[in-house]
């Protein structure tokens, strides 16, 4: 086959290929987004069932010593740097 014809086919394939990959994955984006709206989240019922336990927990987390948080985050960072 003539090379210019092959090149034309390859160019055509590039165009069709990229468009179809984008369309297909774009469709998946829409599907996943709509599923996220339709399906209730796992955490929600837990949170609504125990509003009383969550509030103190949130307060407690505010009272954690900022030095402790700093120490933990540097430890985590060091661990991740080593890996």
């Amino acid at each position: 086959m003539d090379i210019s014809e092959l090149l034309l086919q390859a160019g055509n394939l590039m165009l069709v290929g990229m468009v179809s990959v984008f369309l297909f994955l774009g469709l998946l984006v829409l599907v996943v987004q709509s599923v996220a709206k339709l399906v209730p989240a796992d955490e929600l019922p837990v949170a609504s069932n125990k509003p009383t336990t969550q509030a103190p927990a949130a307060q407690a987390s505010n009272q954690v010593n900022p030095k402790l948080i700093a120490a933990i985050s540097t430890a985590v960072q060091q661990y991740r740097n080593n890996n």
Binding site: I3, L6, L7, Q9, A10, G11, L13, M14, V16, G17, M18, S20, V21, F22, F24, L25, G26, L27, L28, V29, V31, V32, Q33, V35, A36, V39, P40, A41, D42, E43, Q77, R80, N81
Partner: protein, 376 residues
């Protein structure tokens, strides 16, 4: 005396041709890369050993009746092995990061430009005397840009079995080289400020969403791209076994025993294709060069797409994430994390990069399906 001569005629030394020796050296090089350099050792060790076995004179490993012949025909000729590996990869993949931020699928799509640009490049190589790639050959070579071993082997076994050895070796070698290939491209295409962008924490994803995801991907594939269903179907089966939570034993088998067993034989079968006649040609050099182009272009197009998304979102997307769109799970995501940390020590992009990373796996499977439908 006659007996001695017969014995001498039966030795390896008597029958060696220089090409076989060169191929054994290639096999030894792969073993060196696997054992000393730790380049994808799970694959390159059996591939390298397979290459040595396949080039033993008079042993007939790759002739009908030889063990490598059967392993190849049963496993790769039938496409069973790459599909079993894909099932295992599905069982190992957590789509949580992608479901939490589905727009990352666009990065997985953009990075596939590496595949299609390479296809064009492979055909353009025909302008140089000595290269005669058909459209099928070019497609099989281009899929190296998908940075996904089983997908590359699957497509090559269907479109260009003669080139399979070189394609698989190129795919796995470049996957091992991702930490060297990607960072310079990523740094060249982004500014320091862009690399320092911190991403919002991902929302938690419900179990129901994770279970529905593989089913919906399969359904979309059935409707629009049936040619990709062998790859995507096995992948989704593995992922459903993982996420459903009711067949932990099967999921465990797919992730461990099955994928490990298959990997041994997949490597040997690929190695059996590294025969002197098929590998020692100028086309192999072309394939190695095109593979590097494929990886680089894929990384670049992913980063450019991520830059566009970053602008559109008002600077909420770190453009480095685009580089993870070339699959090569999880190496590419780790590279993104590392380059991100260089610009901003507080910026942990690993979880965010897993989204485009697994999107890249889907993207390359889809691209393989498209190529199969159009040129297969």
């Amino acid at each position: 005396m006659d007996g001695l001569i017969t014995l001498w005629h039966d030795t390896g030394i008597y029958h060696f041709e220089w090409k076989q020796l060169v191929m054994m050296a290639v096999g030894a090089l792969l073993l060196f890369l696997a054992i000393v350099k730790k380049f994808e050792p799970l694959l390159l060790l059996p591939i390298g050993f397979g290459a040595i076995l396949a080039n033993i004179p008079n042993a007939g490993f790759t002739d009908p009746g030889g063990i490598l012949y059967y392993i190849y025909e049963i496993g790769i000729g039938s496409t069973v092995f790459p599909l079993l590996i894909f099932m295992g990869v599905g069982a190992m993949t957590d789509f949580g990061a992608l479901i939490a931020n589905p727009k990352m699928l666009f990065l997985g799509a953009a990075a596939q430009f590496g595949i299609f640009a390479t296809l064009f490049g492979a055909i353009a190589l025909n302008l140089i005397p000595g290269f005669e790639f058909t459209l099928q050959d070019a497609s099989a070579i281009a899929i190296i840009g998908g940075a996904d071993g089983p997908t590359a082997i699957f497509l090559a076994s269907k479109l260009a079995p003669d080139l399979l050895g070189a394609i698989a070796v190129a795919a796995y070698s470049y996957m091992a080289l991702v930490p060297l290939i990607q960072p310079p491209i990523m740094r060249a295409l982004t500014s320091e400020k862009e690399r320092a962008i911190q991403m919002e924490q991902l929302r938690p994803v419900s179990k129901a969403e994770k279970i529905l995801f593989p089913l919906l991907v399969l359904f979309a594939c059935i409707l629009f791209l049936p040619s990709a269903t062998p790859l995507v179907g096995m992948f989704c089966l593995g992922n459903l076994m993982r996420e459903s939570g009711v067949v932990d034993r099967l999921s465990g088998a797919a992730q461990n025993e099955i994928i490990n067993t298959v990997t041994i034989f997949l490597g040997l079968a690929v190695g059996s294709k590294l025969s002197a006649e098929a590998f020692l040609s100028v086309e192999t050099l072309g394939i190695l060069a095109l593979g590097a182009v494929a990886f680089s272009v894929g990384t670049g197009s992913g980063v450019m797409m991520a830059k566009v998304m970053s602008r559109l979102s008002g600077g909420k997307v770190n453009p480095l994430l685009g580089a993870a769109g070339v699959s090569a799970v999880p190496m590419a995501a780790r590279v993104v994390n590392k380059v991100g940390l260089e610009s901003n020590p507080q910026n942990f992009l690993l979880m965010h990069a897993m989204g485009p990373n697994v999107a890249g796996v889907l993207g390359s499977a889809v691209a393989a399906g498209v190529l199969l439908a159009l040129v297969g």
